[in-house]
Amino acid sequence: MTHVTDEVLAALALGDPDVDPADRQHAETCPLCSEEVAELASVHGLLREEAGMRGAHRVDPGPHVWQRILAATGDDVPAAQEPAAADGSTVEGPVEPVASGSSGPSDRPAVPSLAARRAGRQSRRSWWLAGTAAACLLIGVLVGRAVWAPGETSESVVATVPLTTLDASKQKEGTAELLGNQGSQGQELRIDTRPMSSGSGYVEVWLINTDGKRMVSLGVLSGTEATFPVPPDALAQGYTIVDLSREQYDDRPQHSGDSIMRGTLPV
């Protein structure tokens, strides 16, 4: 039999009892039609779920968000073109505009100034970061202690992570130490591994982004111990997975895909 019409598919998804039995039977046994019904039923389900949400699905971001977008994309748009320019506030330029709640007619609730917002954010963030950094440091020290002799961890060690094989055994083959102050430039990564064979090639050290796509090469590891500078901001950008790979002298400068060990630095 031929496929049922879209309207019948929708009726089935809506649980309409009056659907022709032959149509119903077809839709239940035909893989294509039953897939369609399931898809429509999920839209139906989402609509029912959403019915409980009384909140608006459109939310006014407020004029300061547009000002931040302007600041981040350049400053060549006159303030008159600000889409939400109902309050007549002006855009000062590419630097953070000194928006103030008192500028312009105030028939709308005062928006906190960008500076105040920034300040608020930063204090919240830095508090949070400080907490995390302290926790990481503590964990780093604890792991470090477990790994090496006590006292060998220097004050500048921000974090220590084990480097393990990628197979299920997760055998520990080495250690990566992040040196320097968290959040500042000039961080370094010290790699310390068991002796390993690189065959006819060499071992390369990478920082892989947690998005699984981007990576930076830190350099070549000869021997079992070396320290590499970490590009500024790399960790904040998500390049937190330390990876050692076996590379050949070939025409492919990118990662060979042959990872020997990995570890993930705390953010």
């Binding site: 989402l46 997760k170 947690t210």
Partner: protein, 200 residues
């Protein structure tokens, strides 16, 4: 309700000038960016706010989406439906990134302590998708023509039976059923369109 007029304005203008707007943005017009923000900024913000539960994070995401849209405007392939789908695609990814970042922040501190290497994954991405879909459905229902919009609103928001709706709107029951079915089909199409902005 200013929201209603906003949507209606968005409605007429998106159908009229969506292609021209997409072309203008792709060719680097700041006016076009401003117009996009006016039309879809609240929608992007709504998606972010709903997904992240924090106004500040939602504002950050909204900012990122439009900055990113500006920076990658060269990748936009202008068509009548391209712009909102494209912006929503960017919003989806930014929200998913933020979810992943939050999950990672939690997991990393645990993982280091537990001496295990965390794998890269995107926990909660399905939850994000559902939330985004629901917001898009709200938007799509609002854009249905009458009386379909009212029929669906009565059925879903007010949970009324089809017989009830027929009586209230003074429509034959068959017409109400037909609006429900076609409405559902139409909403599915809209939702699928919202997914077209999948990759950048």
């Amino acid at each position: 309700m200013s929201r209603v007029t906003d949507i209606e304005r968005a409605d007429t203008e998106t159908t009229r000038g969506a292609l021209a707007l997409a072309e203008a943005l792709a060719s680097g017009s700041r006016d076009a960016l401003s117009e996009c923000y006016r039309l879809w900024g609240p929608l992007v913000m709504g998606i972010a706010a709903r997904s992240l539960g924090s106004r500040q994070d939602a504002e950050d995401i909204t900012q990122q989406v439009f900055v990113s849209a500006w920076q990658s405007r060269g990748t936009l392939r202008p068509s009548e439906s391209a712009l909102p789908a494209w912006l929503i695609g960017i919003a989806r990814r930014r929200v998913a990134d933020e979810y992943a970042r939050r999950a990672r922040a939690m997991r990393n501190s645990r993982a280091v302590a537990a001496n295990t290497a965390p794998g890269a994954d995107v926990e909660g991405s399905d939850a994000v998708d559902r939330l985004v879909d629901r917001v898009l459905l709200r938007e799509a229902v609002d854009q249905l023509s009458e009386p379909r919009r009212t029929v669906l609103n009565l059925a879903y928001v007010e949970d009324r039976t089809q017989e009830d709706i027929a009586k209230q709107l003074d429509l034959p029951l068959g017409t109400v059923k037909s609006h429900m079915r076609r409405g559902l089909l139409q909403l599915r199409r809209e939702l699928l369109q919202g997914w077209e902005g999948g990759d950048r």
